[in-house]
């Protein structure tokens, strides 16, 4: 079990939720008593606050998967869970399990680049936040952290993601750990041909 702390939501409507319902959701999932209609309780079109914090004693990927397995995916308000980020997580896990980290890292690059295209930094934040670093190869961990370096100022959770990534590499005693932090910054911003 993993505790996730969610930070500032940039789109209050999208992330609006009912805190009381979430508490009960967390409690229910812990007991393994997840009713099919739980989505009704968690879906809300009201904005409670522009800022929200969510603490759950369950990995959100696992929760989403659990809801899907219970046949809830047709009715679940999946936008809350950042469907794209979760779908990518699953894809990456599957590719890693199939021993294909290079394909996995390409998926990560495409996801990151496409979200930059529409300045959807929150989607990248969510990926950094949701992905399980212990299920990723060194290549994917380094790739994800390095490819997000240049947008670090927009990625509020990147520092904590970097810590998770470092811990994961440390756990495996990976020799790639020194690659997490890149090779220095480019200060110059001038005109050149």
């Amino acid at each position: 079990m993993q505790t996730l702390n969610y930070g500032v939501a940039t789109n209050p409507l999208r992330y609006a939720y009912n805190a009381r319902s979430y508490d009960s959701l967390s409690a229910l999932t812990n007991k393994g008593e997840l009713p099919k209609n739980i989505w009704v309780k968690i879906r809300s079109s009201e904005t409670i606050d522009n800022t929200f914090y969510l603490k759950m004693d369950i990995d959100i990927v696992t929760l989403s998967e659990c809801l899907r397995q219970r046949g809830a995916d047709t009715t679940l308000d999946t936008s809350f869970f950042d469907v794209d980020a979760l779908a990518l997580c699953r894809k990456v896990y599957a590719m890693e399990a199939a021993n294909n980290p290079r394909l996995a890292v390409r998926e990560i690059f495409t996801y990151v680049e496409k979200n930059y295209a529409v300045k959807r930094f929150q989607a990248i934040n969510r990926l950094l936040e949701l992905i399980d670093y212990d299920r990723m190869s060194d290549l994917c961990i380094i790739g994800l952290m390095r490819v997000t370096t240049c947008a670090a100022e927009h990625l509020l959770v990147r520092q904590s993601a970097l810590n998770k990534a470092r811990m994961s590499l440390e756990k495996k005693q990976s020799s790639a750990i020194h690659l997490l932090y890149g090779r220095g910054k480019q200060e110059h911003s001038g005109h050149a041909v």
Binding site: T110, E113, I142, G143, C150, V193
Partner: protein, 229 residues
Amino acid sequence: MLCDPRINPFDNIQDFAIAISRNWWPRLSRYQYHVGVFVRPSGQNLKLVHLATHCELLTDKPSEQYYWLACEGLHALEKILLAEWFESVAQLNSGCIPYSVIYDAQQCFDEANGYVNAGLGQGLTCATFLITGFLRFDISFIDSSSWQQRPEDAEWMHEIIKYMKNHYGPDWHDHFDEQVKYFDHSIRFRPEEVAGCASSYQGAPILFNQGIEIGQCIIGEMNAMSSSI
């Protein structure tokens, strides 16, 4: 350092290498160098990715017209990441990177399909495309703040922009005209210098004076190789 594919075949490139070629440019009576990258994406044959010209980021089959340079100073994982990234970016951006002598290291490959078109006149050259790609992985192989203007580069800029304007028609005149304003204070990263610096990089950004020497060394090696065949 420089490898001629007729002697040192492309098969020896494992994941990633720098590609460089040259063509005679009659208008300036000198060679024009061109830089790109050789990549071997997962399960695929070797490919050449290069910003061939205005709005043409191409993925081509390797040709013996190109020499190659290994990047010994990069970690194996970094080479794989660069290979996968350059190839995937070429797929995403094949027609949307304008040619420009104006380059801002801070704003490329962030947004519009991986590339930020920050405004009129902005874009990349073959050389700045390479610099930008490496920067995407936080690899600063040159210290661009040390780069300086060289008088002969202004002549080159005028020629290339004149050619581009003629070739790409009125729709793009504003884009190219805008660049003329920057000629007096623009610096140029020459393809041979960028290729050599990317290959020679060992962890510390390469300074302008070293870059010049490295670029001249590359030209010397190309001359020697082409005259020996």
